[in-house]
Symmetry: C2
Subunit: 149 residues, 2 copies
């Protein structure tokens, strides 16, 4: 995909991540875009805000997109490399592409997804890296809880 | 684990599956048990009831268990072999064991989980098989939507 479009879509996910941080939550955001570029759903991690461990950013965006008959051609944009849970979501529902803001602070199943035919675009966005590095340094126990460590 | 305990725990998941069917939903149920045998959470598929595609049975049980600091020693019991989404959940959070009611009508990531150190117990329960076979025959479109086909 075109780099400028990937970065434009990442901006939506980054807004979500920052909204979560402002709410006292874990600063990871995501958005699901349709094959035609329509925004289907956006969301952020809600572990802290709703005491809900099942709502990682990607699952929140997926949930907010509502029921879809097919995910062919859709793109999941996320500020952070998807964990195994969210990678499994992408594979099971046939989401075609994943745009990753950064994969330096954490890396989940992105290579596994690529090996199974998902297009993976890693942007290495320094704002995403800083957001997570600062958060993890300040909240190591909460971060480990969120990734099951 | 002992067969009678696995079957006892499966009864909880089967109750959830039947509750979902009675609500007009997809008849898959699950329960998360702690290392000491305590029931931490139970739930069922809520795609139809809440128009929520993110609530597969296993994610619903995980969600209803609330925030946990560790999943070491826990067991996810499910009436149906977990899809990639729910298999990813098990792997990411370090759930130690999966008890599967049946894997004839659908098989997701259970072998992948076993290869990554998760204990997988398949019970081949005929009640679970019948429940899914009848449901899939009567609702093929809805079933395919739920597994992203």
């Amino acid at each position: 995909m075109e780099d400028h479009l990937a970065r434009q879509w990442l901006a939506t996910a980054l807004e979500e991540a920052r909204a979560s941080l402002a709410e006292g939550g874990i600063p990871i955001g995501a958005a699901l875009y349709g094959a035609d570029g329509t925004l289907l759903g956006r969301g952020h991690n809600l572990r802290v805000q709703e005491d809900d461990p099942s709502l990682h950013a990607e699952t929140a965006a997926f949930r907010n997109a509502g029921r879809q008959r097919s995910y062919r051609g859709t793109t999941m944009v996320t500020t952070l490399s998807p964990c195994w849970y969210c990678s499994g979501l992408v594979r099971q529902f046939g989401i075609s592409r994943v745009v990753v803001g950064e994969d330096e602070t954490f890396r989940g199943g992105q290579e596994w997804l690529a090996a199974h035919g998902v297009e993976v675009v890693v942007l290495g966005d320094p704002r995403c890296v800083t957001l997570m590095k600062d958060f993890i340094a300040a909240n190591p126990v909460l971060w480990n809880e969120d990734i099951g460590q």
